[in-house]
Amino acid sequence: MIVPQFEYLVPQSLQEACALLGQHGSKAKVLSGGSDLIVKMKNGLAKPDYLVSLKNLDELKGVRYEAGTGVIIGSRTTHNQVIANPILREKYPSVCAAAATMAAYQIRNIGTIGGNLVNAVPSADMPPILIALGAQARIVGTAGERVVRVEDFFLGPGRTVLGQDEILAELVIPDQATTGSNYVKFGLRRAGALAVVGVASSVTMAGDVAKDVRIILGAVAPIPMVAREAENVLRGKKVSDDLIQHAGKVAAVESKPINDIRGSAEYRRNLVDVLTRRSLKAAIEKGHV
């Protein structure tokens, strides 16, 4: 439980940070909140020779709104800052609520939204709701900036599209049209619990027709999973309890859960079914922006 020796680097700009990452390659790791990385280092699961701290890069902090673009969340914004942010509370309370399901208060004070994505664990709580809202990731590297959908950000457990010299800079949630959204998490206690299953959905209604539907499942596949078949059950249809029920069943079938200490695969499928129904019902009835 002792952190191994490493060199601590504190770049003053994003460009310098990317350059350092490019220079040290796989020997370097980015330190943001550290709530995942330092624990991994203590347990011998990560042994970086260099830690590149983002602590002086204030441009990666905070939330702002840009007309025509949407809500922009700096990757270093802590979970508790996400929860308390007035712009998010007004426009996307479902994002605040998802952040509030994470870890415990003290950890939410240091853990960041960017870290939650880059760490890329299958049970992460922020990716499903961000994907459901069509969020994009702004990535900065030595060669410049690029934008990818959060939906396309993950490659596998612990693996993302980020190159060796790249840093996740910002997340952008584009403007939505009358969309209700939420994230329903099933954890085995109310704090300090990883999701056994997490389901985020967003529904855009036109009268009683679901014009668009997104259903994203967490903790039931190697990466946050889009339940496409279940979305198709509802998309363009007049919503009804039967249809919602059917969508839950379909989501359960297409999910790919595993057995582990937090639940059997069979139980997880059952939870996907129940939680998808509950999430959809709430997204249809409540929280439209």
């Binding site: 002792i2 200490i261 139980y267 129940v274 019902k281």
Partner: protein
Amino acid sequence: MSELSVVGKSVPMIDAREKVTGEAKYVSDVKLPGMLYGRILRSPLPHARICSIDTSRAARLPGVKALLTAHDTPKVKFGEVIADEFPLAVDKVRYIGDHVAAVAAVSEDVAEEALELIEVEYDELPVVDDPLKAMDSDAPLVHDVERNIANQMSFSRGDITQGFREADEIIEEYFETSLVHQCYLEPMGSVADYSGGRLNWYLPVHIPSVMRLTYAKTLGVSADAIRVLSPFVGGGFGSKMEYAPHLICALLSKKAGRPVRIVNSRVEEFLATMPRLPMYITLKLGVKRDGKITAKKTKIIADNGAYTHYAPPILSTAAMRADNQFMLENIETEAYLVYTNKMPTSCFRGFGNPQMTFALAQGIDIVAERLGLDPVDVLLRNVVRKGDVTAHGWYMGSCGIDECIQRSTEEAGWKEKRSPRGESVTLPRIDSTGTNEDKRRGIGIATCVHVSGNRSFIKMFEGSSAFIRVGDDGKPLLFTGEVELGQGSRTIFAQIVAEELGLSVDDIRVAMLDTDVSPFGLGAFASRTTTLGGKAVVAAARDLRAKLSVVASDMLEANPHDLQFAGGAVFVKGSPERAVPFVAVATRAVHQKSGSPVIGEGSFTPDNVVIADPQTKFGNISVAYSFGAHVVEVEVDTRTGKVDLINYVAAHDTGKTINPMAAEGQIEGGVAQGLGYALTEEIVIQNGRVLNPTFLDYRLMTPLDLPPIRSIFVESDDPVGPYGAKSLGEPTLIPVAAAIANAIYNAVGVRVKSLPITAEKVRDALRNKGN
């Protein structure tokens, strides 16, 4: 005793400020000049022969000051009941985490690195980690003991055949309890300092005076060669007893000639300490139509783990203690303790009582339903009353179990909320996802009995002693043989001294235990500290008062027997205006004897307890028995099986509550710990390997998970206990899991008979029922 001024009042813990500001010194804060850091090489295999250990590479690492293997340790097995463990494993390892070698080095880093350089060759042996399979005739043997049975017992009362013959209804049920950890905040450890031919040992443990004797024997030294000092202790809940790493620490210090500290990491806590015994219980009950229990037959198989600590008395507690809340006549019990390739198991709040109560209190609920009776009526039909002697020979000098049942059910709204199963109403509450139609509520009850000290546990004597020293500063300093582990004993004792001497709690200091100075005390187990320790403190304070009265009588020109001690002064009863300050009396007394402090001595030896018969287990083992009744309301999600806790009421017969605030803390802590036992906690082991050795997946309840907990004190005024007080620490946890199981059944009509009652198990049960 007339009006009490300090006892019975909510006084903050006297060490609360030190603790919350971080000033309090725990063993991990002890840092002696030249101190080394010890680490233990642990077995990576659950069962294997040790072929060779090569420490030569580790010995060459700069900064390594001492290395130990079984070669260097005394070949004396230790173990309080069955001696079956060496300080370091000899020839064979028996669980993952077993102690193989140890190192002391100048820093934790170097010590850790040295462990990696120790080469051990193992020859793997077949593993048995299920106690039921361990009893098969062809199971691998953990020790050279037939069918791995470390200990067994059987006893009966009355006529079991006749008892079942008289019954109108008979039920037989099977229950399983889980492997759970005490999860004290402070991991186990010690600092050993061998110097001047003597071992000074900082040992945060339950029974320091007794462990000094045990360890002296294992180390082959006389007791006077060991001085044990008790630092602040960050909780114990039964766990901090004899432990091989303490001995390893001492042996490293002796070899290195320098002080050594070993403190466990949290992972080591989960791998290699002594959690609660899992038990596999078959319970058969016979009842008359009116609810009267006519027969109880029990078979228990308990998982000892790889070595024996206190599991045999824990098993005998499980086998009989819960019976004593009822007037039973016909009882038959057999119990087996079985070795497995898992960490050893031992004491944890309740000492076997929660395991059996999980079964028995559900048995009562089951028979009540069978008979169409309210379980409350079945309980009241069978419970003991003041003056009763139970089938096991326990004498109830005071008893408030009926009042606990009545007041807890009243407070919780039992009559209105307890609907016959299947008629639970749809709830008015709507949660964030609007799914109220899937939720059902239910309410359940469970009761318990427990001891206030156990004459049978440490057999040298029962009782306690204390002395109080007053110097010319006039501030009493109390020395007791009992131990503060966070339960609040120093505060309780300070209240008692203040009460008896007419002072305020702030005037009293309570020394930490030091075996060079303090009385020999049996220590903190069997919830004995307030009752027995408190009696000794009362006696010491009265002795001091008598001595000071002689001096004060001179000063006041009055008869010593006419004096009253109150408000920090001494005066003739009825004449408080002519008072002398307490401090002036003390100063005068000290000066009269050329500076010698005044010492009040006191001891208490109960005359109504016996060591239970080793075969039949019959006998009155405790000075006083305490009781509790818990009523809990739950809400069950019928789709996911998730159980939410709505409301909790815990009524306890404390005899007399000396500090209501501290007692509420005990209740809330015990209930929270019991709720984890009921719903979320379990050390999961597969092929001898712990799958969840961290707090992420060993799930303690968080404050957010807890319901409102209301404490009710029933004061039955025990004839023996100080001011009538009895035990409280352990009883607070004992009925929790059973109350939860009964409430879940009331809510959704399914009964999960294995702990923990996880959401998935509830969902499985609902599915099997056809929901």
